[in-house]
């Protein structure tokens, strides 16, 4: 789960990291009120869960309440890479001497956490990694021992800081790692960590990715989920315990298992179609889950055909077939279904579905071809 900049900075502040004293607003009037409270020059920043908002015009400086209200009016409602701006953050503007990048990030391959920093803050770290990899300094944290002060020193001296600044940087490294650990994050990023005119450091932007699997022990974080960032279909799926991702093709996919669901999407494309979604209904027949999954797929008007791909394992194929039929009995639709069931009792399953006037196919490749053809005809 990702959270907004203002939420990330609020959390960082709680761990002692210096952050601007800004506030979030959902209307131009609210933004004006925040600016009046803060006083002086402010920056109005779109809160959307995507990058590149600066280039899209979602970040603007403003001086005085009138200007703030005007800028907020421009930004609120803006569409940035498919995300509508519902909130703006109004932060006091600060004089920036230079910008640093700092992040704690999960290193899956090493099963460790890497802390990365670079003097080239304010830009994507991937860009720095591509153009000037030696500018990035890294330390790797052993989860059994944890962050030590020397890690902070290596990073600070590594990017040329010294004196009191190196000391403050080391404290921020420790605070960021503490936040990353305590929040069950897989990424905690400050970009930029700015050097102010007086030489002290401040986190001007923040990004946090949270581990969905740990939200059960982070109830406060679960509450930060932005419902506006989820499509209606994604919300329905999440509430039903289905793994679902919206895509923009025309072939609905209903599959058991995440790997098989991805493979089904891939084969659909290989056959000249394009998948409308990723959907993993999980293990077992569970007619109610199948029905919810079908409703989610069919509410998308772009869906021209549905490809059902089920592997019958310990769950028998005929049971799954009956579950599908039961679900279809409750849904009124004329979108064509292509069903491919393989594995345990697949023959019985095909017989059941054939009796219900559904197209079936013995292989995934053939099923995908049929689904693509069915969609093309509509």
């Amino acid at each position: 789960m990702n959270i907004h900049e203002y939420q990330a900075k609020r959390l960082f502040g709680r761990f002692g990291i210096p952050v601007p004293a800004g506030e979030v607003a959902t209307t131009p009037a609210e933004a004006r009120a925040v600016a009046e409270r803060i006083g002086g020059r402010v920056v109005v920043k779109a809160q959307v869960l995507t990058g590149g908002r600066g280039k899209a015009g979602g970040v603007k400086l403003a001086d005085g309440p009138e200007a703030v209200e005007a800028r907020a009016r421009e930004i609120l409602g803006m569409d940035i890479k498919g995300h509508t701006v519902h909130q703006v953050l109004v932060d006091p503007a600060v004089a920036i001497a230079s910008e640093i990048y700092l992040a704690a990030v999960l290193d899956r391959g090493q099963r460790r956490t890497t802390i990365m920093t670079s003097r080239q803050g304010g830009v994507d770290i991937e860009e720095v990694a591509a153009t000037d990899p030696s500018a990035i300094k890294r330390v790797t944290i052993d989860p059994l021992v944890g962050l030590q002060p020397f890690h902070g020193r290596r990073l600070a001296y590594g990017i040329g800081l010294g004196g009191a600044q190196a000391g403050q940087f080391g404290r921020i490294v420790a605070q960021l790692y503490q936040a990353y650990q305590s929040l069950d994050a897989t990424l905690a990023e400050i970009n930029p960590l700015v050097v102010l005119a007086d030489g002290t450091l401040m986190a001007l932007d923040g990004k946090v990715n949270l581990d969905d699997s740990a939200l059960f022990r982070q109830p406060e974080l679960e509450a930060l989920r932005d419902p506006g960032e989820e499509t209606e279909a994604e919300r329905m799926a999440r509430e039903a315990g289905l793994n679902y991702v919206d895509l923009d093709g025309s072939i609905g996919c209903l599959v058991n298992g995440a790997g098989l669901a991805m493979a089904t999407m891939d084969v659909t494309q290989l056959c000249g179609g394009s998948p409308a979604n990723f959907l993993d209904i999980g293990g077992g027949a569970q007619a109610d889950k199948v029905e919810t999954a079908m409703r989610i797929i069919l509410r998308d008007p772009r869906v021209k055909s549905v490809l059902v791909n089920i592997f019958g394992g310990i769950t028998r194929g005929d049971e799954v077939a009956r579950g599908i039929l039961a679900a279809l009995g409750n849904i009124d639709t004329d979108v064509p279904f292509v069903v491919r069931i393989v594995g345990t009792n697949a023959a019985e399953a095909r017989a059941i579905l054939a009796g219900a006037d559904m197209r079936t196919a013995p292989t995934l490749y053939e099923a995908a071809q049929m689904a693509v053809a069915a969609a093309a005809g509509r």
């Binding site: 989860p143 581990d211 740990a214 790997g259 098989l260 991805m262 394009s274 394992g313 594995g343 995934l364």
Partner: protein, 290 residues
């Protein structure tokens, strides 16, 4: 021959009295696996499918000589269960549970690696040595003994491949599902090394997916150390970046972890890459002349 588990494996089931644990214990027992003990705190003295239940792993190991564990406990108790099994001296721990927090797994995997304990999973279907032992949830009726080693991050996609191989009369030495989480106990290379060393394994199927770089690491390993023919497949060519595709680990982030990169790495390593899952068994059949 086989890797990791065989007919001598004396299996212990943690969370045996739970719904999943009890259900799959039945299937493992029916398959002929030596399931010697179960553990559920507070339920010592009970039995599940004839398997005696103990309060602690240590008690179970002392009483039954168990030498492997399979874990079905809920995610929030899984790290504790794995560490309990490790502390009791079990050299192989297979964790089926999905949704274990990443930070728990960072601590657990680092500790187990240092102690030389093999952890498979979490969020995996487990492993099966056809005709000998089934540890986890891979259906027993879709495999048969034979010369192919299978390793995968996926569940049902693997079942498909196993089923297709078996339908063609091509059996397997062992099939290992390493799981779809970002931090795993066993990685592709760990399993590949074992298949390479196993004289009965004549060829290897490796099924990867988007997210992370383990497929690239596996490709390097295969290029350098694996002399047996390898057939590969990567799922998620059509997955969009930044979205988690079911598995916690199946996500393209920061532009890395794409199917295209992984497929290219496989091809550079001389792996026979299938365009779609249906091709996998056919390529294997061609390679081993079955």
């Amino acid at each position: 021959m086989s890797i990791l588990v065989d007919k001598h494996t004396r299996l212990l089931v943690q969370g045996i009295t739970g719904r999943e644990g009890a259900f799959h214990t039945g299937h493992m027992v029916d398959y002929g696996t030596q399931v010697v003990a179960g553990v559920t705190p507070g339920k010592a003295g009970e039995a599940v499918h004839g398997v005696p239940v103990f309060n602690t792993v240590a008690d179970a190991v002392e009483a039954t000589g168990a030498n492997a564990s399979v874990i079905y406990v809920p995610a929030r108790f899984t790290a504790d269960a794995i560490l309990e099994a490790a502390d009791a001296g079990l050299p192989l721990i297979v964790t089926i549970t999905e949704g274990v927090p990443v930070h728990d797994m960072l601590v657990v995997t680092n500790s187990l690696v240092q102690r030389g304990i093999t952890l498979v999973g979490p969020n995996c279907p487990g492993l099966i040595t056809p005709g000998e032992a089934k540890v986890g949830i891979i259906p027993g009726n879709i495999v048969r003994p034979g010369p192919v080693g299978v390793v995968s991050r996926s569940g049902t996609l693997t079942y498909e491949v196993l089923y297709a191989l078996t339908e063609r009369g091509i059996g397997q030495t062992t099939a290992v599902g390493i799981g779809g989480d970002p931090v795993q106990g066993t990685k592709f290379v760990d399993v590949l090394a074992r298949f390479q060393a196993d004289p009965a394994t004549e060829s290897i199927v490796i099924i990867g997916e988007i997210g992370g770089t383990d497929e690239e690491v596996a490709a390097d390993y295969i290029a350098q150390h694996v002399t047996k023919p390898v057939v590969g497949f990567i799922a998620g060519r059509t997955a969009p970046p930044g979205k988690r595709m079911g598995h916690a680990g199946a996500i393209i982030s920061g532009g890395t972890g794409t199917a295209a990169e992984k497929t290219a790495a496989f091809e550079r390593a001389g792996i026979h890459v299938a365009r779609h899952p249906d091709e996998i068994a056919a390529i294997v059949a061609r390679l081993i002349g079955a």
